[in-house]
Symmetry: C2
Subunit: 346 residues, 2 copies
DNA sequence: TACATTTACGCAACCGATTGTGTTATTTTT
DNA sequence: AAAAATAACACAATCGGTTGCGTAAATGTA
């Protein structure tokens, strides 16, 4: 008698002198099984320490209880919240969550997608790697009836549900705020233009400049991976210009915070000489001194909605849909951009 | 002809006029299959877009390619690195990683453990919830031949592999450093004493005081959940004391940073009037002004080692082992504790 | 040439739960 | 009381690989 042999429905069936069918149905509250039997089965199951084998169930039903998630880096605060949101909904619905990081590499994204397919995930939630430009790997999943939902960093080049924020509006708001603060030469630290989020933010920035008749100066727009290091370098470059900017709108908080750090080191007063706005409201945004004005993201909610979309698609059978859900953002004004003699727009 | 029907080894077998057995073995490079056949099978598999069904394989082999992870909160920078380390090793070895958050709740930890068992994870890596005091749920897994490895927040009340840092030494080092900086009334912001990590840090703190003949003042030792909010309140309480401390050693960076924030607001000069040391080296530690002296954690490495232990246990068949691997930490000295006229110990 | 090995592959059971299709009693309907 | 409907359960196939055992052909050995 091996102590570590798992308890199966067959063990329960044998002990109760019924068929495995009955046990299975009883455990699932099938209505063709009497109340009496159901109770007995469940009691014995508990007593024997029975735990259903999800593997076997998945194989037979051709349907797993696992949702796959591919994101860039788990260590980003925004991503962590996103995942929590996904987990929240998924767990409620009885799903597990498999997470894999693309590390912003296209190759890893493809590999991860294949691995998740081998695990026959019930659905996939993906936030694209920085440089991804081909989407075949995702379309393959759809062809196998596995729903794909993009979140935050999405693709418009294939049919799929998308959960995003209004990056354009956010970029516009951020820039408009800087203009209201009296800034006239506003720089922008942007990210990969392959990604909707950075492109949208930049477009919003440009549109705001246009609206207020501020000339666009290409030398004030810098692209990078928006890391701390790059943000620092970009700030250095901008502030060494013969005609330096009086404000920076960065597409994320890391870049914005490191810009503040550079400015402080260079003895530039914030926000009076240089106003700065970031994006995401990472923890560092409220820690840096002066605290960083930034755009708040409903990350947790985005995760929840993405997961709900997966579940919805599973039900509706149609794996390909092209609904785009856009969530609102808020401008969170803090000292890094709040000039004393100016009034805040509301 | 359904386009979304999955390709199986049977499809390949039929087309090649061989048995599914041969296909299976060819795909796994079994040596009883000729080079020739193996090549043919693999080519057709590629051509047909075959992807192995890991579910079916797992069921038969009674062994999944999934490692389960239970941690408190994914949003903690330390945890994120830890997970990355686990993923690194796991993916290399062909494993997936299922992550679930206990949110520091014992009940959720138990539920998650059961769910992961239903998924028949190959192994479990766990960092205990704040208040967990019973470990039956983990022992049940071991009884089912599923290896359990604890990491960071571990249990000594059951046999299991453990991967930790030397919290005692770190706490000692941190406190000794403060003493070297001339501090005489050193407060401690501690966490749940049920957890080895907080207990160890506190013991190290006490030992350092003892070594340098500094009396222990119970009113300077405060316990909390070490959140920003609690850290702030604790700092307020300490600094309102008739005889306030001249240093704080906090068991994590959140508490330390919020203590700095309170001190700044209260007009207390750091580090001269109050020196502060944190723990973890979270991003906020280097962002806060003055930058926070803290203890660095080899989080990624801890994750890697934990995953390696799981793989090792799988091989060795014995699921219960009680090896404790202790990793080193470093004291990272920054301005929050560095008094100008003092020399740094090395 | 006769026998022993080796090579290359097939058969069929198996992993554990699910489900369409029966098959009995038992109850309801007319 | 006979026919119809319902309740409660069992049979056996199925999901897609994996694996112990068996076998025929090819090769090696004496």
């Amino acid at each position: 008698m091996k102590r570590n042999k798992e308890v199966t429905i067959y063990d329960i069936a044998k002990e109760l002198q019924v068929s495995p069918t009955t046990v299975s149905r009883a455990l699932n509250d099938h209505n063709s099984i009497s109340k009496e039997t159901t109770r007995t089965v469940k009691n014995l199951a508990r007593k024997l320490g029975y735990h259903p084998n999800a593997i076997a169930s998945s194989l037979r039903k051709n349907k797993t209880n696992t949702i796959g998630v591919i994101i860039s880096w788990i260590s980003r605060p925004f991503i962590a919240s996103l995942i929590s949101g996904i987990e929240d909904v998924a767990n409620q619905a009885g799903y597990n969550v498999i997470i894999s990081q693309s590390c912003d590499s296209y190759e890893r994204e493809v590999t991860n997608t294949k691995t998740l397919y081998s695990s026959r995930v019930a659905g996939l939630i993906a936030s694209l790697a920085m440089e991804t430009q081909k989407y075949d790997h995702f379309m393959q999943l759809q062809r196998k009836d596995i729903p794909v939902v993009f979140v935050d960093r999405v693709s418009y080049e294939m049919e799929a549900d998308r959960v995003i924020i209004d990056n354009f509006a956010a970029g516009f708001k951020a820039t408009e705020h800087l203009i209201a603060m009296g800034c006239q030469r506003i720089a922008h630290l942007g990210g990969s233009q392959y990604r909707n989020i950075y492109k949208g933010r930049q477009q919003g920035y440009l549109e705001a400049l246009k609206k207020y008749n501020i000339p666009i100066d290409e030398s004030l727009i810098l692209y990078s991976n928006l890391s701390m290091e790059e943000g620092y370098k970009c700030a250095e470059q901008l502030l060494s210009l013969p005609n330096p900017p009086d404000a920076i709108f960065a597409a994320n908080d890391s870049a914005a915070v490191s810009a503040i750090q550079y400015a402080k080191k260079a003895g530039i007063r914030i926000p009076d000489e240089l106003a700065i706005v970031g994006f995401n409201d990472d923890p560092i945004a409220s820690i840096i001194d002066p605290a960083l004005t930034t755009i708040t993201h409903p990350a947790f909610e985005m995760g929840r909605i993405a997961a709900l979309q997966v579940l919805k698609l599973k039900e509706s059978k149609s794996m390909v849909q092209s609904e785009t859900i856009v969530l609102k953002t808020d401008l969170l004004i803090r000292p890094s951009s709040l000039r004393k003699n100016k009034k805040v727009l509301t």
